[in-house]
Amino acid sequence: MTKKTYERVGLTSGEYDRIVEILGREPNELELNLYGVMWSEHCSYKNSKPVLRIFPTSGERVLQGPGENAGIIDIGDGLAVVMKIESHNHPSAVEPYQGAATGAGGIIRDIFTMGARPIALLNSLRFGELSNDRTKYLFENAVAGIGDYGNCIGIPTVGGEIYFNDCYRGNPLVNAMCVGIIRHGDIKRGTASGAGNAVMIVGASTGRDGIGGASFASVELSEESQENRSAVQVGDPFMEKLLLEACLELFETGCVVGVQDLGAAGLTSACSETASRGSSGMNIDVSLVPRRETGMIPVEVMISESQERMLVIVEKGREEEVTGVFKKWGLNSSVIGRVTDDGMLTIRDGDEVVGRVPAKSLAEDAPVYYREYEKPAYLQQVGVLDEESLEVPKDLNGVLVGLLKSPNIACKEWVYRQYDYMVRTCTAVAPGSDAAVVRIRGTNKAIALTTDCNSRYCYLDPATGGAIAVAEAARNLICSGAQPLAVTDCLNFGNPEKPGVFWQFRQAVSGMSEACRVLGTPVISGNVSFYNETDTNAIFPTPVVGMVGLVEDTSHITTQGFKEEGDAVLLLGENTQEAGGSEYLKVVHGLEQGSAPRLDLDKEKRVQDCCLELIRAGVVKSAHDCSEGGIAVALAECCISGGIGAEIEFESRCRKDFLLFGEGQSRIVITACQSDLERIKDTAARLDVPCTVLGRVKGKELVIDIAGQREMEIAVEDMGTSWREAIGCIMG
């Protein structure tokens, strides 16, 4: 075998030698391709595995941690929530509409593969600055792709986040998250066991589309991948809707031993992973796989990434039950092989054996790399911020409006009105507050959902930035009245073979892990996306956190908008004067510099506990955390959402601009009836949480005094218009 051959499938000579050792012979062309896709970073996590072990993954409520198609967390009453997030960055960079759509499609399959009914979608998006035409095109089409897929299949897209930064210009990020609900007893796993049981492929037929997709996700984007067209797939949400209903109906028959969706690396990964998990083997015949195109050779069938397909392992003798259910839904289902007990994945084309390798070796024996890491040099320069040289702006009203118009802070309604966030009639809090809240039918409970990550903090300090992503997600859930339960994460980074990138990766994971430990939210599923770079430019480290929380009683559901004239406005936590990494520095001073905001996790935990206790006690009328844009923007958002003004007074002697727009952590703005003030202060004191009355809800303007001086005075309606229309104006 020539050197070129293994390089063509993305393997190194070391990896090739290892394969020869495993097989005791040279692999044939088909076998080599199987290793190529399965040992790619995307499928094998060969570069990230040792680092991911740092994450806390267990907890009382964890029913399924990482390692399956999705994680599962108990919410009581015999019910559980299934969750997972996944990246579709590279396909979306090439074809944003279909890339994003199939991203949504893929993550939905991961959820119903577990036996769960998908009930909500979220997403996390990153693009370059909107001044660029290509960026507008990517943004517009990725949003439409995500929206159309979810809308058509009838799963509400209830939340997400979007940031714009030049570092994403050539390599946008499209991460999709899905959440499902399941009874404990109904959980399915991706396991093939019981020699003689049938291996069936169900759903769409197989074509050449997406061939090489898995390895596609594991290489840097080059001019060439613009040409790499067959790697783009077209989503078919209608087919997936049928597949979803058919699978859930099928699971009720009890004939299913195991099930796995066909995602990256298609049949190869589904067969080897299920067999490997079940410590068994599998004997399949590719000629039995229904095809959409003619002339496909076995290797193409094995690695095709055609969408909307599933592999189902069925009890021997009950194959017809499967066929019956799928027929009812107008779908294909075919027996393509049998489970064996020899541990081998044997691939036949009719009678001829065309490949035979140990199933485990594909799924689990990819080499693990302990990459070199080194603190990157750029941190030296960006870490310092000469605050003295920055002038305090005269027109603070103008600064606030400028921030409200910044696409990173502006209202995302332009996006989410393209998403059907109401279908299933369970969305109690729609997009636009800190977290979405979805009620659980048949109970008094609800779950709160969010995705978060400020990647600028991660760029300045990946450990702190990673921790803040977790803390902010939890804070958003708390503000909605939920107890944070668990995390699914999507780690978007550059090329891990670069020591600087790998350092960022390790730091971010360790920061996230510490925050997860302190806040009691184990990581139960996730995804790693490396090689997010173009030419020489890597993206900011972007470890996106998806989090789910439990609202014990729907009466606890809380939103960010101010509610009633006369209510007291309070701050849990303390104002600081940290300007580093803020949107203010970027928008007004053109700087992405300084230290990321400090995060004291114990204090964060106390603030969150305090807020939730007060919400559960029924004394909190609105709650909103301070994030991008600082306390001024947080107050403005409370005013806009509530359609009512406020009079605020700060005592602080901090620098005015840093006080108003700095992004110090662990702060939540709440409102309450004046008569509940004492009770709130007592609770805060008992929990050792700073609590100050900032003012009261009043009138049609947001008025802010600092140390007795009137500093800001601005009509809620004007702020609302600037904030609401900013993105629409840019998009035209």
């Binding site: 058509c152 299949i153 078919d236 209608f238 809707k241 839904w329 989410y416 109401m422 009639t425």
Partner: protein
């Protein structure tokens, strides 16, 4: 009294309509599978929203050839109440039970939001409890909701009082700004000549409970329940 909610492949508001009728309004309700060739006994049939057949080709174009649709047509022709919501409305126009057709929203984008609609005809089975001119706040969620009909038919429809709802602002004015999709004359809902078949783009089943923040949709279904209770006038 029994309601039937038709399930086409790709329907996705079927469960919402079912829930609204059975759980919120406590009505006997059943799903009707699209392959059904013999309809059981129903008093009212609901064609739900969603994306029957993916809304591929055109919304409702393929669904209208489902076997169940022959039965729905007979049911409608017998004078019993039928309502099509969103994609269900599209199915009704494709099937010829209601006039007109749908174009892409003039914004070219799918739109999901609360809108206001004004009741223009309060005498259909589904609007009997609305006052004439009553303004309801009801969400829409569609990409092809831009209603079109030719001039002659429109005149006819207006003469027969077949426009049931128009998009309007909170005060009830049918302005251009309050039209979310470019529909002709702000039309949001219509009925057939006889008034027993109603189609509407907004989703009343999405706003029938306090926890969803709005209960304006209730009046649509309460109307038909009331109508059916009030003695089988048309039977």
């Amino acid at each position: 009294m029994k309601f039937g909610v038709v399930v086409f492949p790709g329907s996705n508001c079927d469960i919402d309509c079912y829930h609204a009728l059975r759980d919120v309004l406590d009505q006997d309700t059943e799903y009707i599978w699209h392959m059904t060739k013999h309809l059981g006994f129903y008093d009212c049939i609901v064609l739900p929203g969603g994306f029957s057949y993916g809304s591929y080709l055109r919304g409702g174009a393929i669904a209208r050839f489902s076997p169940v649709m022959d039965r729905v047509v007979e049911f409608a022709q017998s004078g019993k109440p039928v309502i099509g919501i969103s994609n269900g409305f599209q199915v009704l126009t494709e099937a010829g039970l209601l006039p007109g057709a749908f174009l892409r929203n003039n914004s070219m984008k799918f739109v999901c939001e609360n809108v206001y609609i004004r009741t223009e005809n309060a005498s259909t089975p589904f609007t009997k409890l609305c006052g004439e001119g009553q303004v309801l706040k009801i969400p829409i969620a569609h990409g092809d909701g831009n209603y079109y009909v030719d001039d002659r038919t429109l005149k006819d429809m207006e003469q027969n009082n077949q426009v049931v709802f128009r998009y309007c602002d909170a005060e009830g004015e049918a302005t251009a700004e309050s039209n979310p999709n470019g529909s002709l004359q702000n039309i949001a809902g219509i009925c057939n000549r006889e008034g027993n078949v109603v189609g509407m783009m907004p989703h009343p089943e999405r706003c029938m409970e306090e926890i969803l923040g709005n209960r304006d949709g209730t009046v649509i279904f309460k109307s038909v329940i009331n109508y059916l209770k009030g003695g089988a006038v048309n039977d």
